[in-house]
Symmetry: C2
Subunit: 362 residues, 2 copies
């Protein structure tokens, strides 16, 4: 017997919304309908997720769920071309300002469907139905929506909070191992930036998480969501604290872009990026070798990559300076003052960064 | 000797910004720089405006103004394809979060450049430099940005307030007569929805405005901007009062879409739309025949069209129900309770609307 869903709230005044975490949520008509406006709906999903869960969702929504757009799977779907397709479907389905998009899938679906919702008729409602661990703990929460540009990931986007997030734990049963591990990278990230106690818990609970123990997964998602929620509430539009969530991402985005989207899963690139950021932190004297080793070991135990591809110094520089975290030409980075305490700063020793890049990516 | 520029403020808390109205503003380095962030700039203009005013702007900005994107002229430029081109230029010019877009042109340039600014890196600064009367009194103010979709105008967009608006009156010297008149349509609109005294002034001052008397133009722009500013401050994201600014636009957009973009200027379509809205208001018993005639006469004296093209009842219905002002299947309209007092309402006699459509567009 599954426990009742747990609900957290992202408290953003008029833009506040609930995150429900639990089993059976795609079959929970009341919770699905609770935040939706009265107009027409468009379900956006992909060719992998739709065969597994679309019927369940449609059964819950009845005749309201008659319009859908099923996209290709993978990061390449976060494109201007996909956006054009979504706009065509929104027009064909006659979705007005009182309509909504339901994003059923992982981070890619949440990002591109969320961006379409942010910009159709200057913003319609979006209900996030994340089906991957990564999306449940990270990308579905906080209102960041985006597509990619050849010059970098997520360069085009908008802040647009969803009306609700329903993280149905049942959907994790069909998640490939590699994607489960990529999701764990973001869970580990949230512990590293903000919660040393959660880090201890993760080290102890990793075997259960890898075995997909439902109670352990629910607890990991809850704690990661709490950390993300606190940061989003503090800084909705990423002018300060929210940048901490990008721990590992400046390096990670450069790796993803240099390798071509699809070579690495986002969580995998972030895992490598976290190792590079931890190494850079160590060279500042902020972390000891034992702590860097603790980061590496946990990621390796989670089956995540910790070794950067040799993208070359020049390419790393180029990609990191166009990255959104560049300001006034100086790359600001999220680094660790200690395990569980991250800072977003341009005040670090540039030679430390250079030394790490020379060692890891040159 | 030109009088010093006049400055109004759009008071939106952290998103407040000034509107400067005056001669010589494109040469006013201090005012141009005042609101700009420190990063790189991209100037967006079109093939008509750039040869006239780009050099003046570049001279004011010096070496900062080394990146530009010159688009085709006309409504067809408000497309997803143009947006893709702008994103490519933003990437090539390495515009980061601390960068800005300068929109030098009319409403089309302001809308598409503003939307690119709203979505590049999830939002960068945009400085609006409107060069048409319509853009100076309406589209550059208030943060509405958009592109068109085949299914309708402005269906894709975002709310994104500029950092400042500089309306240089000198640019009106080169404005074609037809565009000057189209701009007057929006000026007349602002009087009709909110300010009977301004309507009196416009009836008296029309000959001076058509003769491009600088003092008369400055006063017309100032009063229209004051009306728009008050409404935008009251309702930034168009949940209520702001809809009044769409007086004539539900009909107008349908006419523009049915005729194909480019057949009518926006202000011309709005002029026709205002006549249809006034006629519908009269059939409710809200306006008398003399008042409808006063609206028609002023528009005709301004050289604006007042007769709708025969787009057909079915097409009018279809286009008006997809329009952004549709809610719950019922087309809400901006109608006049009296001259200078508009309401946004779904509470009108549907037969009155049908009768007007049957008479004017069938």
């Amino acid at each position: 017997m599954a426990p009742p869903p747990l609900t957290l709230t992202i408290d953003l005044g008029a833009r506040s919304y609930p995150i429900h975490i639990g089993a059976g949520l795609l079959g929970d008509r009341a919770r699905l309908e609770a935040g939706l406006p009265g107009g027409r709906l468009l379900i956006v999903s992909n060719v992998t997720v739709a065969p597994l869960y679309l019927a369940r969702l449609r059964a819950s929504l009845g005749s309201r769920a008659d319009a859908e757009c099923i996209l290709a799977d993978g990061e390449a779907t976060k494109s201007l071309a996909t956006l054009g397709l979504l706009y065509d479907r929104l027009a064909a389905a006659r979705i007005g300002r009182d309509g909504a998009i339901l994003a059923l899938g992982g981070g890619v679906i949440g990002d591109v469907a969320g961006f379409a919702a942010a910009t159709w008729q200057r913003g319609i409602a979006c209900l996030q139905l994340p089906t991957t661990l990564l999306a449940q703990v990270d990308s579905s929460i906080g209102g960041k929506t985006a597509i990619n540009h050849a010059a970098g990931k997520n360069l085009i986007g908008a802040f647009h909070q969803p009306v609700a997030v329903l993280a149905d734990l049942d959907t994790l049963a069909t998640l490939p191992d590699r994607e489960l591990r990529a999701g764990l990278a973001e869970v580990i990230k949230s512990a590293l930036i903000k919660d040393p106690g959660f880090l201890d818990w993760l080290e102890a609970s990793l075997p259960k998480l890898l075995a997909r123990d439902p109670a352990a997964l629910a607890e990991a998602i809850r704690r990661a969501c709490l950390i993300k929620a606190a940061i989003v509430v503090e800084d909705e539009r990423e002018s300060g604290a929210r940048a901490l969530l990008n721990f590992g991402h400046t390096f990670g985005h450069a790796i993803e872009t240099a390798s071509g989207y699809g070579e690495w899963l986002h969580g995998e690139a972030v895992a490598i990026g976290m190792v590079l950021a931890a190494e850079t932190s160590a060279r500042q004297g902020w972390l000891g070798r034992a702590e860097v080793l603790r980061v590496r070991t946990l990621l390796e135990r989670a089956g995540l990559p910790v070794k950067a591809p040799r993208i070359g110094l020049a390419r790393a520089h180029e990609l990191m300076s166009l990255d959104k975290k560049a300001a006034g030409g100086r790359v600001r980075l999220v680094l660790l003052k200690s395990l569980g305490h991250a800072v977003f700063t341009g005040d670090y020793d540039g030679r430390a960064l250079e030394a790490v890049l020379a060692e890891e990516v040159a």
